[in-house]
Amino acid sequence: MFGYLGKRALHSVVSVLGLLVLVFFLTRLTGDPSYLFLPLDATPQAREAFSALHGFDQPLYIQFFNYLGDLLHLDFGESLRQNRSAMEVALEAFPQTLKLAVMAIFLAGALALVVGSLAAAKPGSLFDRFASLVSLAGASAPDFWVAIVGILVFAVSLDLLPTSGTGSAAHWIMPIGVLMLRPFGLLVQVVRGTMIGALSSPYVKTARAKGVRRQKIIFSHALRNSLLPVITVAGDLATSLVNGAVVVESVFGWPGIGKLMIDAIIQRDFAVVQSTVLVTACAIFILNIAIDILYAVLDPRIRYQTS
């Protein structure tokens, strides 16, 4: 198991390095930051001084090697906008995103397990058809649209919930609701499909021949086996929530890493962009390891292969 984890870590370091190269050069394609940070009528001399101060006057490859050198000393650069360590800015925003993502994925997963299992217990029933309809709608509705309509209905018209920002518990409801929608819809489909398969599987037949009660068959035999593909999909969705809450965070003004990233890109705050990418990449790496471990816990066949 640890040999396997070591191998995974090594692979991840390689891909994170590749990602850093890409992000470093791509952000610098967006243009010269001095046009955004200095007044429009700033003199060319002032612009040069600004560039020299932040090292933007040097050739790109020198800038890159300096950046790599600084990384080795755990120096991730300064935020131009906030005048403090870029990593500090990113790490401050990240927990906000994480809280949102964890709650959304757990709620979506739990709900999907119940709804999907009930739908699979009687395929073709009224409940099954209703669940399929709702989950399909949830999976295919674009989140920005749902978010805006949500604000219009619940905040503007009904005045039940705040439009954006943080603070009270009410502030969490809409962002989580919108974020949950897609994972919930997809997971219901996956749970339903794998449960139908599991319930007609040979080992369920064996359990029935042993005289095991139906309830125990569903939860102890079928659901346990169905969890494996569900976790794969849920892990994938969780990954996209950790780095992809950009739209929802922007619409609801949520001070998470997605909003920070998009703001930093617009403001050409290079060090912050790089730091947010690094933080989300590490988070995704840890998430993937956690999924692998969960997999091994649930499936003895995987435990056996990797030990």
């Binding site: 396997y4 064996t206 359990a207 042993k210 005289g211 009660r213 056996y304």
Partner: protein, 552 residues
Amino acid sequence: MTGPILEVRGLTVDFLSDRDPVRAVSAVDFHVSHAETLCILGESGSGKSVSTSAIMGLIDTPPGDIVAGRMFFEGRDLATMTEEERRDINGRKIAMIFQDPLAYLNPVHSIGRQIAEVFETHGVASGADAKRRVVDLLRRVGIPDPENRVDQYPHQFSGGQRQRVMIAMAIALQPSVIIADEPTTALDVSVQAQILDLLRDLQAEYGMALILITHDLEVAASMADRVMVMKGGQIVEEGEARTVFTRPQHEYTQKLLSALPHADDTDRHRRSATVAGEPILKVENIVKRYTMSTGLFGAAKHVHAVNDISFQVNRGETVGIVGESGSGKSSVARILLRLNEPTSGRALYKGDDIFRMNERELLKLRRKMQMVFQDPYGSMNPRMDVRSIISEPLRIHRDILPKAQWNDRVVELLELVGLKAEHANRHIHQFSGGQRQRIAIARALASDPELIVCDEAVSALDVSIQAQVIDLLADLRTRLGLSYIFITHDLPIVRHFADRIIVMKQGEIVEQGTTQALFANPQHSYTRSLLNATPHPKWETGAASQLSVRVS
């Protein structure tokens, strides 16, 4: 004499499909008594599994529907019982053993937990007491070191051991009836004999009634007191095992029994009549070694899938490669066709080393060397019609035939393998297993090959169909001057078909020789065990469960 423990009268089961309901079982009567073995014999789709699933209440409704019939267990009508009463009988009074223990055991629960579940479900024992009983059971069914193995998972056991676990689960509460549905079909012959022995011993010990469902005539003969032959959902013949096997009344039973290879019938030889010609394939010392890494820093382990194999195939000759699963027989085939690369060795096809050929030379070779696989459904594209499937080799090797003549050639090939011209427009799912294998053979013949490698080509087919396909292959060999490498786990099949036989075990050749010599005088103990493993009729051995050598 007491009455039967289990009695089924007029059982009729329909399966609902999109159109009309399909009758799976029609007015079936049978019964079984204390310490008696009833064998239900039939080919796939004959309704033999459905009949017994109904007893356990394992038919899903829908799609299944018990239209008529009554089932009595110890005189009580199963249909009038509540769900809870039926559930109580399952596992306690009537237990079931299934065909494929890997699929029928839950992969994520330890075997100990799965066996203990029988005790817990029926409130007999739980916790440490249940575990102690499970260990005793595992010891009884012959699992070595049961104290440690009880916490292991199904994938950590061999196929034979898994079936022993399944049997342990079935006998846990000493039921009065055990239904065994093809219990040895997924197992190697030598393991099959052990499992059948175990079932016989347990029956003698506990006196349970045994309903054994099988398509294997030899298994049925070796186990049955009474035999019931099913075809198309109906019973065609029923009676004492000895009577049915020695004096079959129904035409279908006679046909089935004639497919059984007998040691003494010399008129059924399908071996090539002509003297074999010049050598076309010479295999010299091929080795295939797999390196298994055991983690990041673990030492590498070498596994020999194929170790130092040499043999020769002559024109017009059939070489049978026989071995159990894991013996490396299929690896040899895959290496010869360059689907896998060997670690070392040479294979000379008419003097040219196959392993040194480049892409162009290989393409040329594949015209002359074709393959027929075990599963014709899996090895043919379901979206292509038969015409496209058979003409595909012509599309790849453009120089064989101009496109205008492809249609005629497809028709010719279809007729050659005993199918009709109008079959060309159909798709593969519209054919039976035997017909599919004929199509696979037609495809292999399209490029005018000289050598065809058949990898378990008839193993997935019913016995009577097996004989037909082998007859076809033998006929084609004479008409087209073909050579075959015929790979199988079933020694009796090649007896009348192969000229020479190679016996493989754990990647090595343990014995090779002409078919007559090998059957008459097997040298290696493994070959003898393969021959002995073919079960002997129960009425000839009496009550004793000895297995005698079929070969005199």
